[in-house]
């Protein structure tokens, strides 16, 4: 995923490897332009980027399991024991 030295137009196989660097803002200006130019002309890669963004959004909806009351109570007892009262 290191920056490709883009002396040629990007092909799809390369574009999919640049997606994260692109979203992280880590592509050079030149590579960003080449990537965006490719996406503008390629429905498959445009959809691919959309799916990666959707994946991130879906992952963001996964909540951790709630803290069980007895776990909370156990931790507070641990705290009081540690503080020595």
């Amino acid at each position: 995923m290191k920056l490709l030295s883009l002396r040629h137009d990007i092909v799809c196989r390369e574009a999919v490897e640049l997606v994260t660097d692109y979203l992280e803002g880590k592509l050079s200006r030149r590579d960003t332009r080449a990537f965006e130019a490719h996406l503008g002309a390629c429905d498959g890669c445009e959809e691919y980027l959309r799916q990666i963004k959707a994946t991130i959004e879906i992952l963001g909806r996964v909540q951790p399991e709630d803290l069980a009351p007895e776990t909370r109570q156990g931790l507070m007892e641990l705290y009081r024991e540690f503080r020595g009262n």
């Binding site: 995923m1 994260t20 959309r50 799916q51 963001g60 909540q63």
Partner: protein, 190 residues
């Protein structure tokens, strides 16, 4: 933090409420069971209480706590000799067979409608999202969990896991790519 040092019990309770669930989730990345993960998190809280007076504030309190946790969970995981999934190496984000010789899509991704995305993020399928996470090698899973589930910044993830930004990005890229592919298979089945 000041309140915690001063022995304010409610400050500790607030921290537990805010972080404990995410901590268990992160610990589960490295250890074989939920029960062991809970133990590791409890040990971490004790370490936090013991160490709070020496905490220098060079990172945020949250990053510091998660860093202690990640180290403990990793060493516990190693001790429990969980078979670590072999990192597949640089196999590419998308199955190579879906491109032609020139590297252009021969089998491009099918369009995901808004309804499909909505379905993927609704109740029953969300359980499969968790299952998909379990399929990732632990480094990828830890980074994806912290970045995309807990919303930490890349800098925070690097501090928590003790990895470089470049490494963080590689793990994030591979992890997200694989989860997308798992979702794609899921969509195709329906």
């Amino acid at each position: 933090m000041r309140r915690l040092r001063a022995g304010d019990e409610s400050a500790f309770a607030e921290l537990v409420n805010a972080y404990h669930p995410s901590m268990v989730r992160l610990a589960q990345t490295f250890v074989p069971s939920r029960a062991v993960a809970e133990e590791v998190v409890q040990d971490t809280w004790l370490a936090v209480l013991k160490g709070i007076d020496n905490f220098e504030g060079r990172s945020s309190l949250k990053t510091w706590i998660f860093h202690i946790l990640a180290n403990r969970a990793r060493s516990t995981g190693a001790r429990e000799q969980r078979t670590v999934p072999v990192d597949p190496g640089d196999e590419g984000s998308v199955d190579r067979r879906r491109f032609d010789e020139g590297g252009t899509w021969s089998d491009p991704p099918a369009h995901w409608s808004d309804q499909i995305i909505e379905k993927l993020s609704s109740g029953p399928l969300l359980a499969q999202v968790q299952a998909a996470l379990f399929e990732l090698p632990e480094g990828q899973r830890a980074v994806v969990t912290l970045r995309d589930l807990d919303g930490l910044s890349s800098k925070e993830v690097c501090d928590v896991l003790g990895i470089s930004e470049a490494n963080q990005r590689v793990l994030l890229h591979r992890g997200r790519s694989r989860i997308r592919a798992i979702f794609e298979d899921e969509v195709a089945k329906r």
